[in-house]
Symmetry: D2
Subunit: 115 residues, 4 copies
């Protein structure tokens, strides 16, 4: 069993042991995912881009756990919907390779901003 499937099993057991599965509809999980992403974003909202690339250890430790929360809800949602995230990501990258050929969009921020 790979690392993601193992995490998903653990998260499923965690929810089942608390009788929380009843709350985990895909609709609700997408909301929870959205809330966790905002808690991550919150750390960066008043920082410059430069500062965001050089977090101190205390901030980074917090950001790391917020990123974990995003990952946890994404794994849980994918599990509920039967989505294999790694395969889906490979498929999406292949689509992006076609949509944004390197030789055509290179350094073109306008194209990028429509990305």
């Amino acid at each position: 069993m790979d690392a993601l499937a193992q995490l998903q099993r653990q998260l499923g057991e965690f929810a089942a042991a608390r009788d929380w599965d009843q709350f985990h509809s895909p609709k609700n999980l997408s909301m929870a995912l959205s809330v966790e992403v905002a808690e991550l974003l919150e750390h960066f909202q008043w920082l410059t881009e430069e500062q965001s690339a050089h977090l101190d250890a205390e901030r980074l430790a917090k950001v790391r756990l917020e990123a974990a929360d995003v990952f946890i809800y994404l794994l849980r949602l994918a599990d509920k919907l039967g989505i294999d995230l790694v395969r889906a990501a490979h498929d999406k990258i292949a689509l992006n390779e076609q949509k944004y050929p390197a030789d055509r969009v290179r350094g073109d921020s306008r194209k990028y901003s429509d990305y």
Copy 2:
């Protein structure tokens, strides 16, 4: 190299080939992550919870690619910040085990809603 590290290397090469690395500050990536989560959420906004658990094939295919986008930006952000998502998730689950002991919060939606 595991599946996530491999995806991260691919995403790094994808950005480098397009000279897009300049846009990928953690601040900007957290914004992009937020936008992708909203595109996922959008599919569920007018559905009932029940409907969200039984998507038709066409909708599910779209949701799958939106979930992939969320995953891609999360991997990219984690890479930029040097975060190992799988280890961070294990740490967060351990913290949640302590914070929400199964025998104390079982079936308690009020506790859950403060989660």
Copy 3:
């Protein structure tokens, strides 16, 4: 001076008195707006739709202040960009009237879900 312009002047003075104007770029304000909306959403994530329509007084008081935060950042962002929100809303409603003629989309949830 109308109620919104008066609020915007107050918010401008609040920021100026604290030397916080330096943080209020439209980019940053859009992030803050996003964080506040998530804090509002968080109250509803585990509720049923029915429950969300019948909040108890304590929850409603919290939701009211979160809605205020969303309004505050929206007013601030509009002020920075020179947008008149009331006129913009009237323009958008007029566009929606054309896009969704009542006699064509009535009770059609599929059309609605593409809204």
Copy 4:
């Protein structure tokens, strides 16, 4: 009738004429609000803060309509919950005046980042 109450009446009539009221639970409206904020944020995600403060006319026209969408869903949600946004904003500003005394937090970005 003031400008906001008038907009809220118009939005209520718009929904009623299309039989869309059934979709407008506070839970769903908070999701729609979140989606609209992300569409606003999307315009700023790859811009520098400086660029975000100097949008060209074409971009500004788009941002203006996205801000209108945020405003529309916020008004609709407030209407459904019986919240007077202007009064709530005044209450919140008064709370912020107490929480962040100008002479104590002036120019202190650390305090601000905890805001």
